[in-house]
């Protein structure tokens, strides 16, 4: 007997015999067409935010009214991120860096997500978030140490509250929620922003985190940077849903999609989400839709698995160019300013490289130093053994 044999012909009756305390289980609407013929939820109903459209114009009536100074700040941060990115690729190719994960094209997500944060707030980045890390106060030479395999690079610099980035996909998310839970208990109006990718969203730990944040009303903003790819895995192999934001709703976390190449939309959405968090309204999920323009990492060769044709349309959506169009139009930028800022940022990156080169030094004798607050005796014995080894090899 098929499902449609029991299609109701009339609207169902209301029940009147349930006690008041019985949860409203068989509430309307009941399906008129069998159980599964309709998807009850239409992902299109997830709200989407774009303010600055792909041609650099503000959608009618949506101008958030950011000052020229603000636009200049975020613009410069985006340009700096891209300059760092390019230099790191070169340094990697020249053998000066380990594996590196570029974020070119994702600068609006990067900068927009940390823009509303104060020093007291926290940011938990993933490995591709270095643009945001720079904006949060991580010196570029410090980040170079990190990518070049020096332990010091992972220590948050003085005055910066943030987590170091997470290498294990998704593993930064539960601690980020925990930090937010601690903030709420401390009664401070601070918040945490945690970044993860479309691939990372498949990790059960991320789902658990949404749930913990929701039930605790933790002041955390989840930023899922959906760049369409997880190494070679395109979104449609990663998940059946089109909008990852839908997932937040399954855990009671208000969720929204944002055009991740639109810095204004990112700033506005993030500011609202952070305000919500700070005022005790709990977590928010922001799906920032963007695109991974370049390699997954320098160890990756995307030509093996994706067609450049997929990338091309996104070139037109460059978040920096889009912002520049707006700034030119509203006079926040003049002809030639772009070049000047780029040159200046390149210089900053080169200066950071010089500092990095001058300072970075392998410290093999420190690898036991930071594991425990006080080193257990048996570990100290291993350290002795290790030091003797270094002595024998003539290593400082």
């Amino acid at each position: 007997m098929a499902a449609d044999q029991f299609i109701p012909t009339d609207p169902p009756e209301e029940h009147t015999d349930d006690a008041a305390q019985v949860p409203p289980i068989p509430a309307a609407p009941r399906t008129p067409t069998g159980c599964f013929n309709t998807r009850a939820i239409d992902p299109g109903r997830i709200e989407c935010l774009q303010i600055l459209n792909a041609s650099g114009h503000i959608e009618q009536g949506m101008d958030p009214g950011f000052s020229d100074e603000t636009l200049k700040d975020v613009h410069r941060a985006m340009v700096l991120s891209r300059a760092f990115d390019a230099r790191m690729l070169t340094m990697q190719r020249q053998g000066e860096m380990g594996t590196f994960a570029p974020n070119v094209g994702q600068e609006a997500c990067m900068i927009g997500q940390v823009w509303p944060l104060t020093k007291d707030d926290w940011f938990a980045p993933s490995y591709r978030s270095f643009g945001a890390q720079i904006a949060r106060g991580w010196p570029m030479d410090h980040l170079m140490k990190l990518w070049a395999g020096y332990h010091e690079g992972f220590a948050p610099p003085p005055g910066v509250n943030d987590y170091p980035f997470s290498i294990v996909i998704g593993s930064q998310v539960p601690p980020a929620v925990g930090t937010a839970m601690a903030m709420r208990r401390a009664g401070r109006s601070e918040c945490v922003v945690v970044n993860f990718g479309d691939g990372a969203f498949s990790q059960g730990a991320v789902a658990e985190s949404l749930n913990f944040a929701a039930v605790d009303k933790a002041p955390v903003v989840f930023v899922c940077e959906n760049n369409g790819w997880a190494i070679s895995t395109p979104l449609h192999k990663q998940t059946e849903v089109d909008a990852l934001a839908v997932r937040g709703l399954g855990y009671g976390v208000p969720s929204i999609r944002v055009d991740g190449n639109d810095i204004l939309a990112m700033m506005v959405a993030m500011r609202d989400a952070c305000d919500r968090a700070r005022s005790g309204e709990g977590p928010t999920l922001i799906e920032a839709v963007t695109f991974r323009m370049s390699l997954h990492t320098t160890a990756d060769d995307p030509t093996v698995y994706r067609d450049e044709a997929h990338v091309d349309p996104w070139r037109k959506r460059c978040p920096i160019a889009r912002l520049e169009t707006l700034m030119m139009k509203q006079g926040a930028m003049a002809e030639g300013d772009g070049e000047a800022i780029r040159a200046e940022c390149d210089q900053l990156v080169l200066a950071a490289r010089d500092t990095f080169r001058a300072e970075a030094a392998a410290k093999p004798r420190e690898v036991f130093d930071h594991l425990y607050a006080s080193m257990p005796e048996s570990l100290a014995r291993q350290q002795d053994e290790y030091f003797k080894r270094l002595d024998r090899k003539g290593i400082e």
């Binding site: 992972f154 220590a155 601690p175 937010a180 930071h370 048996s378």
Partner: protein, 327 residues
């Protein structure tokens, strides 16, 4: 002074910590109104509020992961995992963050947290409820693993673990939870972590153990003395990671013989490590190889047949007599 069970002593330690240090908070499944399935957190939510004694959703990875994040912010969370068999669900957060975040941040974020969880067999529980996997923690750099054996040291060690600036896996021998009462002093007590307790001195053979196995070891030592004139030195490790090698080696240098007794699986277990260390450091004093009397390398048997898979008093006696006759 009060005569307390281990459950009551742990409850006391948690209550004290919550009272004395506002950074301390508890989290776990059913620890609030219900007081935990073993009642270790009984009444604590009523006393300290639902924000400090939190019932969490049913997700261990979420519990440990968020506890790490609270510790990063400066709190001192004590997270309960209902049974140690379910720590597997949190293994990623334990290994990747709880154990390593301090090291990763070069000491910037100490992870002062405790993961409490009942372990071991002997209570006729279903599968996954009798695990003894302390060797996983001992093999995970960055953690400490503390195992009390009675009410009094449970209370003192738990306080010390909460005060410790490093992450501690606090492994509670559930077979001891209500097995006996012990005098526990009124005023707060702590004990140094990482120190073994020589609770009986002797000349002939060293018996090393911890947790619920201390009882049969003690009984065996009594019987061995009474019936066979074998004089046992008995050591309670109390901390299985890091191991107090010095105390162990000193003892075996004196006795020349050693048995290590534990519930956990044998291969790559605590016994393997203890045997290796003692052999390394007391080789010339050893009259017989260190003998391991441990759980076998099989999943803990179901409760109709679990009893004999655990080392019992007579097994320890037999092993000690064998060791005395070794040649």
């Amino acid at each position: 002074m009060a005569q307390l069970t281990m459950v009551e002593a742990l409850n006391l330690a948690l209550d004290e910590a919550l009272r004395e240090d506002e950074r301390v908070c508890l989290m776990g499944q059913d620890i609030g109104v219900n007081g935990g399935v073993f009642r270790v957190t009984k009444d604590l939510q009523a006393r300290h509020g639902a924000d400090r004694v939190m019932d969490t959703p049913l997700a261990e990875c979420g519990i440990i992961g968020t506890a790490v994040g609270m510790a990063v912010y400066g709190m001192r969370p004590v997270a309960e995992i209902q049974f140690s068999g379910f720590t597997m669900q949190a293994f990623d957060q334990i290994e990747q963050n709880m154990a390593r975040l301090r090291n990763r941040t070069q000491g910037r974020y100490p992870i002062s947290m405790v993961m409490r969880t009942p372990f071991g067999g002997g209570i006729r529980a279903v599968e996954h409820h009798s695990e003894s996997r302390e060797a996983y923690w001992a093999h995970t750099p960055g953690l400490k693993c503390v195992i009390p054996s009675g009410p009094r040291n449970a209370r003192a060690l738990l306080r010390a673990s909460i005060e410790c600036d490093d992450p501690v896996v606090f492994y509670e021998p559930k077979a001891v939870y209500r097995a006996f009462r012990e005098e526990v002093p009124e005023s707060p007590e702590t004990m140094e972590l990482g120190k073994a307790d020589v609770f009986r001195t002797g000349a002939d053979i060293t018996l090393i153990s911890y947790g619920a196995m201390i009882r049969p070891v003690r009984e065996a030592a009594d019987d061995l003395a009474d019936e066979y004139g074998i004089d046992c030195e008995c050591i309670d490790l109390l901390t299985v990671s890091p191991i107090d090698t010095t105390t162990l080696v000193e003892s075996v240098r004196k006795t020349g013989r050693c048995i290590i007794v534990h519930e956990g699986h044998r291969s790559c277990g605590i016994g393997a490590e203890v045997a290796a260390r003692i052999t390394e450091d007391a080789f010339e004093h050893l009259v017989a190889p260190v003998r391991r009397l441990t759980g076998f390398d099989i999943p803990f048997p179901y409760f109709q047949v679990e009893q004999h898979a655990l080392p019992e008093t007579d097994d320890i006696i037999a092993a000690a007599r064998d060791a005395m006759n070794w040649d």
